[in-house]
Symmetry: C2
Subunit: 706 residues, 2 copies
């Protein structure tokens, strides 16, 4: 529909009597990175085609059918010719899918791509492994790699690779910026949106194998027979792509749904209710994945309402799961409103004493940082502290604090920064990645979850560039050693362009984008100074809120001397929650890396930093150069224009223009506000903002008006 | 993406080695009724093509470009060959677009389609008229009518033909069931979604010429420079399709946005603020349409907060509009919480005394019925009562009380029932339609508004059948004399199929669907017995709510004697708000038409009705036959299967299955509940429901659980 309308634009062409031409559909982003457009290089096409004469499969399960179907569709698109699927034969020049226990792989879900007997063979111990191998082969072609680069072998480092959907039953998504929920609860189970399958395909192509469908602020509805039928209809679609469904639990469900007098996890009736509920669920959904729980957190009920611990609650659910192949993911995101405390320390204080008390089916799911998905956080101290408990990583893919769907921020560097941090839990090299993949603790349970950025918008993520964050997160759940640059380049090649110069320009833009965002919003370790009602614009001046730890002066502690939160022994001593080696990195303001400086230290405005500038001058420099750098991003994007679909180009170009305008808003708001404490001029060559602090406050107020 | 996945389904075909075939895209509903798919009948194509050799236009404004572009794209699709656009010439066999004051039309927006000098000529006094004519010509071809049926001439009966969007700034839509908002406020003004243009095209194709972009529960943001820039970006797109934008007003904007001490409409500073604001708006949006206001209603602020009247508020805004070509639509939807009163009477009581006091730029916008968009309402008494005030019709297209996006309910019969009702305002024949089109009162201001059912879902309306309601509403704003059957048939032909048997089956289903819905939810004039938290399921038992008129026992008044609301002189006497001739139709329970019976009378369960059944037996009969009739709808739909796109077919089939299940839920809930008063058995041949009242209450509770 939109295609020809676009073409109408040039009125002069119409007057000149030019013919109307029906162009190929504009790229609306729906296909994500699974585009399979024709490879333009005829030589490369021929080379690939010589190994793609047929697809041979033996067996007929749903997952193998998915693998064969995906290959068939992908090859037809990339090579421009149909590829038959055959059940047997002894021909050469094709692709053979085999499931065999004899394959030398460490892992049931891993795959091998080899060249054997004139064929490309995709082999794995399970059908899911073959599916992952099929997507790997397609990726190989989509990124234009030579076939001689086979063989490849790969196995996932993490067992439970999940998206968490904070989707509500009313169709909204908490922290969703791409339309409404994908899950059409009112229409289910009778109407099954074809989109569910494409969602599953996209996830499987990355290695994701689980989806928590509902918000952690959970509705009790999901524990009713009525809603479980709906959930089962989705699970039936996902199954053919190796995706298991999970549900967030509303802890008082036994009372609310079951009509019991209590939801006390130690009450025998409550236990029995959950055991029966689990049986009911597995009857409907034999491959149900398990439960995710937010309890006694931000007003959500939980076991503490009955004087029980998080472990009591989690273990009760784990026991209810019994012999079923399901797990409990229990979130550690808790904090009490204490004006004298430090929210940074809350999760550790509540969970460290429970270490070792959790049932073997429980994983404690920890947000990457100690506060709440800020633009940069030090890794959560729990990752170094829970010696006897498997921990899951919880990243946020949706850009709650990263400019919603407007700003382009590639998150792989953020994920990697955390994953590569060394906790020293069991000595040097105990990186966060190795803690959560189970290798430090020698656990078989390991999990990585990302709070999804998907929604009902046609292109799934609102900002087309947001697709890259879904992509990068998914690929990292499979292999956390992948470099940010690799992920960016793969995604760009598969999604936007394979033209080398354009791909390079975009990749460069993506790789710098997060640091640029940090600079114009929260440089040097500033955090939690965003708009109160809208985690989007700046509001560092916020000093009234229902809870002390929702006030922003609580975090930045600016005064006439300096700025930053002293978390050393002279302050909240949150640093003591880390291993001594980690403390040593951060506890000295002289040697603390600048990105973390104001996370741990209250630093004088006049303090000279290693950059040669005073703190005040450095803060200003970051805000100004950060905002300027968005202009550089716009230039990078413009360079790629000839190689990009015009509609997609215009979409991102528009968002970058907004981002530039808003980066200057952040800059002005923060330098003007902090200047009221620092009482120093904006350092040359930068200029005092044209507008006043009142001006930028008014703008913030607009975005928080009813 | 979904196309080939669908095809993978048949695993046996794959094993048989069948080739993969890239099918045409499945129909995702995005194109609405503007499909322009190739006409299969080659003879008809040739006949049409003989008159479509070129498109000739003189002039180059945006709207003419839209008309030419639409014709070009439409003809290319329908005829399968390109059609050039030329600026001049003397050839024959083409389509000529002309704007001329000499055209004999009563109306600036009307059009003529004639055959002159071997060409089809689309002529109008304005470019907008030509655009409407272009769409009419395309509709002519889409519905396969012979060219000899030209000439045609048509002019809109109503001047302001509008959609009202109850869309919130946070992206949600109040009473929206098709995803999030279409308006991407965070991305605007820099990113302009190509969808805005397709929205405008769809509306223009129906004759709609205005859109109120924001919820009547309005955000003050829209009166800020920041948001007006965003609104202007949308207006810039709409302009080329003759659509003007309007804004809902948050009455306290002078305080909230302007920083004034008051928003009193008689305060000189307030007046000045609005005058300045209007000037600011028109500078950005020269064709701005005006304001829609919900004031002193359901907690919204308004002029009464300052002791002023609705007229004071409306007139102040109208004066602020000054000489600008804009209007004020002031809503009459008001009611006070009075347990002894009758909400039915509230709008009349507040607005009738103001008749004649409104500024000439003000239209009072009245909901079709006196309560709130129920499945059936008598027309609002205001339509017969406001002799000296232009009134706008407000219909609800979105199915708030009609089963959300799950149930298929064609609303044209509901709209028509109201429009064709005789108010007797100025004697016989003063139908609601003639009141609102200005012919009864001889007003030049006339308006019809529909609360939109659009959202960000790919197919715009969630339920594909919901598109027909948008279509029917839009066409009725242009010509309220169109029959429901005409509208259904046009839409089916343009959207689903031109195959006669299938089209007939679907048309029949649509035409009966609303009466079926009434029967299984609110037969015989029952009203307002839906779920409290969710206007969806049944909850006739609701007798607790924050306001008396939000309780459902308030409306049905069931007791051991009978059921229904006595609104005659012996009861609330709401009937007295109608003209005597109307009262005479309804005030006698013996002669009151059954569809309105319980709207006006408390009737004994044992009362014998003209159907030969007692009230109780009749109620039961309606609930049971209504629910059964959804099974008939499913059969009708199944008959059409061979002629319908498979994906679209499956979507509606799934929804109908849900509708059937839920119709039985409504039936069981209502007969079981009313049985507790009537204390009578379910009459043969119907059977007592298998489940209990407690069972159905539990189900209702589930859908209202947090």
């Amino acid at each position: 529909m939109r295609t020809y309308v676009q073409r109408v634009g040039s009125w002069l062409c119409l007057l000149a009597g030019l013919m109307w031409s029906v162009a190929a559909n504009a790229d609306d982003g729906y296909r994500l990175w699974l585009k399979y457009d024709l490879i333009k290089d005829a030589g490369l096409r021929t080379a690939y085609a010589s190994q793609a004469g047929f697809i041979q499969v033996t067996g007929r399960s749903g997952i193998l059918a998915s693998a064969a179907g995906e290959l068939q569709a992908g090859l037809q698109g990339l090579l421009g010719k149909p590829v038959p699927v055959v059940s047997s034969g002894s021909k050469t020049g094709g692709i053979v899918l085999t499931v065999s226990q004899a394959v030398a792989l460490p892992n049931a879900e891993g795959y091998q791509l080899t060249q054997q007997g004139g064929n490309v063979v995709i082999s794995a111990k399970t059908e899911a492994g073959v599916l992952y191998g099929a997507f790997a082969l397609l990726r190989h072609l989509q990124t234009r790699q030579p076939l001689r680069n086979l063989p490849q072998s790969s196995s996932p480092k993490v067992r439970y690779r999940m998206l968490n959907h904070w989707d509500n039953v009313n169709g909204t998504i908490e922290r969703g910026y791409a339309g409404g929920t994908l899950w059409k609860w009112y229409e289910l189970p009778e109407t099954v949106d074809p989109r569910y399958r494409d969602y599953a395909r996209a996830n499987a192509s990355l290695g994701i194998n689980g989806s928590v469908l509902n918000n952690v602020n959970a509705s009790a509805r999901f524990m009713t027979a009525e809603y479980l039928q709906k959930v089962a209809a989705i699970a039936n679609v996902f199954r053919a792509y190796g995706i298991r469904v999970y549900l967030s639990v509303y802890f008082p469900a036994p009372k609310v749904v079951g009509g019991l007098k209590t939801s006390d996890p130690l009450d025998p009736q409550v236990k029995a209710w959950w055991t029966d509920k689990v049986a009911e669920i597995y009857k409907l959904i034999p491959d149900f994945g398990g439960f995710l729980v937010k309890a006694n957190s931000e007003g959500e009920p939980g076991p503490q309402d009955y004087g029980r611990t998080h472990a009591d609650g989690a273990n009760m659910l784990a026991e209810a799961l019994g012999d079923h192949d399901g797990i409990v993911l229990w979130r550690s995101f808790v904090y009490k409103a204490d004006p004298k405390g430090d929210r940074f320390k809350a999760a550790y204080e509540e969970f460290k004493p429970l270490d070792g008390q959790f049932h073997k089916k429980v994983i404690v799911q920890v947000k990457n940082g100690p506060i709440d998905f800020q633009v940069r956080e030090p890794f959560s101290p729990l990752f170094g502290a829970m010696d006897r408990t498997p921990l899951a990583m919880e990243f946020q893919i949706t850009q709650e604090y990263l400019g919603f769907a407007t700003h382009s921020v590639f998150e792989a560097p953020l994920f990697k920064e955390c994953l590569d941090s060394d906790t020293w839990q069991k000595g040097k090299g105990s990186t966060v990645a190795k803690v959560i993949d189970g290798s430090v603790g020698n656990y078989t349970l390991s999990a990585m979850a990302g709070v999804a950025n998907t929604g009902s918008d046609r292109n799934w993520t609102g900002n087309p560039m947001g697709q890259a964050n879904w992509y990068a997160f998914g690929r990292l759940t499979w292999d956390h050693t992948l470099a940010s640059e690799t992920l960016a380049r793969e995604w760009v090649n598969m999604t936007l362009t394979t033209e080398p110069k354009a791909a390079q320009a975009i990749t460069d833009m993506m790789l710098r984008s997060r640091e640029i965002y940090v600079d114009y919003t929260n440089p040097l370790g500033l955090h939690h100074i965003m708009g109160y009602g809208i985690h989007y614009g700046p509001e560092p001046w916020l000093d009234r809120a229902p809870r002390p730890d929702w006030r922003h002066t609580y975090y930045h502690r600016a005064d006439s001397i300096g700025v930053g939160f002293d978390r050393t022994a002279s302050g909240s001593n949150a640093l003591s929650q880390y291993k001594p080696e980690v403390q040593a990195q951060w506890n000295n303001p002289e040697s603390c890396p600048l990105p973390y400086l104001l996370w741990f230290h209250h630093v004088a405005w006049t303090k000279k930093l290693p950059t040669g500038r005073t703190l005040w001058d450095e803060i200003c420099t970051r805000y100004y150069t950060g905002a300027d750098a968005v202009g550089w991003m716009q230039q990078q994007w413009a360079q790629a224009k000839p190689a990009i679909d015009p509609e997609l180009y215009a979409d991102v170009a528009g968002r970058l223009a907004t981002q530039h305008r808003e980066a200057i808003w952040w800059r002005d708001a923060c330098v003007l506000y902090f200047q009221t404490f620092a009482k120093r001029p904006i350092p040359a060559p930068f200029r005092q903002p044209d507008r006043t602090l009142e001006d930028v406050k008014r703008l913030v107020d607009i975005y928080q008006m009813r």
